[in-house]
Symmetry: C2
Subunit: 550 residues, 2 copies
């Protein structure tokens, strides 16, 4: 190993994937020379924590510095060059041209292996008025500091983009007492999820005073006395003291492109399962590269910390172990966000995504308690499950609720990895004690509902909309039905259904509805077993067609 | 289906498995006659909630009655006979003899299919003095009421048995301000888990004033002025006002045995994967029956609510669907308990169990934060992973900590169901945002450690005990090493390890230790790469050999 150990590994980018690669490489070898090139002043900081320091939830800025250049030198014996930009790669000469951002001097560094981990930069589209010091993005500690120093004279903030960072910023800025308006081009926040699953988030945001403008984009910005005026596609304009742009990121692949390294259709670096690029001994990890999508096929760019860290580890393993290294299996995009009291997330493919890819799927949405309903603190989780009608394999899941959403997403992520089917969910044996779960967890319930659909015991209807014009029987107790009435329905509470069958026309399809989608299933079974063509409206009345401002 | 639908299904036992079977049967048929026989006055109550009502955490007793005989009649059109005991089964005549517990009258009822769901009764061994109205067990609402009505004149409670119910009762009674002493025959509480994993629980119990007497059994009981004196095997005696026996349960299989139905070695009813017993058209579900153990092989009696409910559903499905029903896949014994601020549980096989079964395994214990360590509220989770050295398949997991233990157990339970390996855990893509997880979750960390062991990068040592007499290098910062010193170790903090290698004898094995088992691994890699025979002590110094009273 002497020969191998004297190699020089150069890593461009010292956060997440780059830092993981460096650490793992050092565990493989004490004698390898490992150099980390970082454009910024900081390495290995907690970029996912930035919004929470702005909002004060993480009070100590030092908490965000997971490592410093000095600690990396000391712990991992790395050479760390901060404030240093890589300006060119020569794959034939195996060298990288560097420029010092402090004094502008140029130099060049040779490598045996090169790992690219430059990340992705926040999009800043070239629209009129974008060059305004009051329009900020959030990627690193410097960006964070900039936003924080603007806070004292900021009363109203416009956030453009309702993805994960946009929502986290909205929450944190509202915590700081700022007036927040969030503009999203799509007709929903969190476009990774299906529209009906984010409605509770939208209600929660509005409930906490965040103004939502959905389905509207930015045409340009103007300056005003007090700050920025965002001019929307709809003609509306929004004046605020500060704008935070969080409309997505763009892989920092210009350097790779210039070196002739192969890129994918959206500008990500193409890699194989050991994170190798098209150039020999050049690897790419993290937000800059694409990952195979094991569910939908093709490749996706996933800008998330977990995949970046594990891709970094994979590249380092391959450098030292060759093809004995464990390949990176692709990313299924498991992600989650907290928005005030709500938690929402997704794993695998959404309905939207499967539709777009032309993949056949079935979907069901169920509600269940976060733990035993008779134990204090139980909260309702709404869980959407997507599976393949061919073999029952789980393709994706989405969840929203006030507690325990992360756990159900993790179970589904693991189920997807294990290629589990809806039958497997029926009998998944999860940890149950009243403070933690239910004898039949909402995950089991999703399995019950999905297999009931497959086996013909449940004929589901996604929304009340689809039932419009048909016979709708609301089987909730009279009080509940009166409190949130379902239009054009007849209320026959479940306990009296058998004795009041005479009131329901047997010659037409009957749609049953309740609060959560469970009692309506029970009712539909009674009706079906009495010869009715009965369908149950999933998700219940609390998933009614969007109300104004929903 | 007319013929099929006119069948009469008789269910003995109206809680959990029996209630689930009845509900599922009714969804299959509106015309089937379904009769539920229940010895007690209540059906379908939340037996897992009983301790929490005693302790006041569930304040409303009505919360525990999930259904009443009347609600079952109304919602499911069942015939419900409470306070009625089944005294004999005649599988040839397909009839059950009943006795009313209110008036003693006998009758008989015919069945097309019979489902046995009588449960299991708390063990009450025939030891001297056991017949004492102050020695109680907890199985149903009546038992609960009895314990609660004894509370006002109870100052000190002896709990015999440190399993799930014993621990829950200890916690709840301590909440009520009672003096609690817990006696367990095994040298540890929660014998389902491995000894080192429950040490934090034992500390937590003692910290909250629960006196623990481990490795000591009950020889008998005597009466005293104020209550009961438990006479222990050690010769010690413990006086208390009330004793709660929670030393395990015994399947209520006498009725089945008398009917010639096949039982397993520990008295459970033997069933196939559709819950069929050896008698035609007789099913058994829940605590009374055995389940196949898909990991260790053979059969196990698992007295848990989740399996009972799903077995009930399986039996009902088989009655109506025959072999098209989804078979019950066996139970892996996933379970969890909350003990004051701690959570602990297991899924799959423990080390103890694998050893006893002669199954080869590897084990690793890792520590990791419940969510991003830089985000407020992160708590350390200790996770033990067991896997097969043949194919890396996960055989079991145990976890203990103050938060997020249920989530990690559920992930491992799902991984076991999916036959995932330690390689799969490395790349499991779990939901990450700072409030919920880490970019490298403790589950990933367990995968890292396990694959590092397999690949020879980590030579693990389970406990400090094994390092005794060897060279031990404590790589923690000097202050941490001084605060909780490791005997006979030399302290060389990790950052100075490379420069102080000269102090470590290269001719002998070197054992590295730190607080949590991570830095010691980093140190061992440095040493190994410098030619040392280096081993890392798993779990770190906070898993030191038991201290007195630990």
């Amino acid at each position: 190993m002497a020969d191998m150990d004297s190699k020089h590994i150069v890593i461009i980018g010292g956060v997440a994937g780059g830092a993981s690669a460096a650490a793992r490489a050092r565990r493989h070898s004490e004698t390898a020379r490992i150099t980390v090139i970082e454009r910024g002043p900081d390495v290995s900081f907690a970029n996912c924590g930035l919004p929470y320091h702005i909002g004060g939830e993480i009070s100590d800025r030092d908490e965000l510095a997971l490592q410093t250049p000095d600690s990396l030198r000391q712990l991992l014996n790395l050479e760390v060059l901060t404030l240093t930009e890589a300006t060119a790669i020569d794959p034939n000469a195996r060298s990288v041209t560097l420029r010092s951002l402090s004094d502008g001097t140029e130099s060049s560094i040779g490598y045996d292996q090169l790992i690219l981990s430059p990340g992705a930069s926040p999009l800043r589209p070239p629209i009129p008025g974008i060059d305004n010091e009051r329009i900020l993005t959030l990627r690193n500690l410097e960006d964070m500091d900039r936003i924080m120093s603007a806070m004292p004279e900021t009363r109203k903030v416009g956030i453009v983009g309702g993805g994960f960072i946009g929502l986290e910023m909205a929450e944190q800025l509202a915590h700081l007492g700022k007036e927040v308006v969030l503009v999203e081009l799509q007709p929903q926040v969190l476009p990774q999820l299906d529209a009906e699953m984010v409605r509770p988030l939208q209600r929660e945001l509005r409930h906490h005073g965040v103004e939502l403008i959905l389905g509207d984009g930015i045409n340009g910005f103007a300056r005003s006395d007090s700050g920025v005026v965002a001019q929307l596609g709809s003609g509306r304009s929004v004046e605020c003291d500060l704008v935070i742009l969080s409309i997505g990121v763009r892989p920092e692949s210009d350097l790779a492109r210039a070196a002739g390294i192969e890129l994918g259709p959206r500008g990500h670096i193409t890699v194989d399962s050991f994170q190798r690029t098209s150039a020999p001994d050049v690897y790419a990890v993290g937000d800059v590269c694409e990952s195979p999508d094991p569910l939908v096929g093709g490749h996706v760019g996933i800008a998330l910390g977990g995949p970046a860290n594990r891709q970094g580890r994979t590249a380092a393993d391959h450098i030292f172990l060759g093809d004995r290294a464990l390949p990176y299996p692709g990313s299924i995009g498991t992600s989650i966000v907290r928005v005030f009291g709500l938690e929402a997330g997704v794993t695998g493919a959404s309905e939207k995504r499967l539709s777009a890819a032309g993949i056949r799927y079935k979907a069901v949405t169920v509600n269940g308690p976060s733990h035993a309903s008779y134990f204090p603190g139980a909260e309702t989780i709404t869980l959407k499950l997507l599976w393949s009608p061919e073999d029952g394999r789980i393709l994706g899941g989405e969840a929203v609720g006030r507690d325990g959403v992360d756990k159900r997403l993790d179970v589904l992520a693991t189920a997807i990895r294990g290629r589990l089917t809806i039958d497997d969910l029926v009998h998944l044996e999860l940890a149950y004690a009243p403070p933690f779960g239910s004898a039949k967890d909402v995950i089991n319930t999703a399995g019950f509902a999905a297999t009931n659909i497959r086996d013909g015991f449940l004929v589901p209807v996604q929304t009340l909309e689809e039932a419009k014009g048909h016979v709708i029987v609301d089987v909730r107790p009279a009080a509940a039905a009166a409190a949130l009435p379902v239009p054009d329905s007849v209320n026959i509470p479940l306990p009296s259904l058998r004795s009041r069958l005479g009131e329901i026309d047997k010659s037409k399809p009957v749609y049953t509805v309740c609060q959560m989608g469970k009692t309506s299933y029970f009712a539909a079974r009674i009706l079906a077993n009495h010869g009715y063509d009965a369908r149950s409206i999933l998700g219940g009345a609390h998933h009614q067609a969007p109300r104004p401002n929903d």
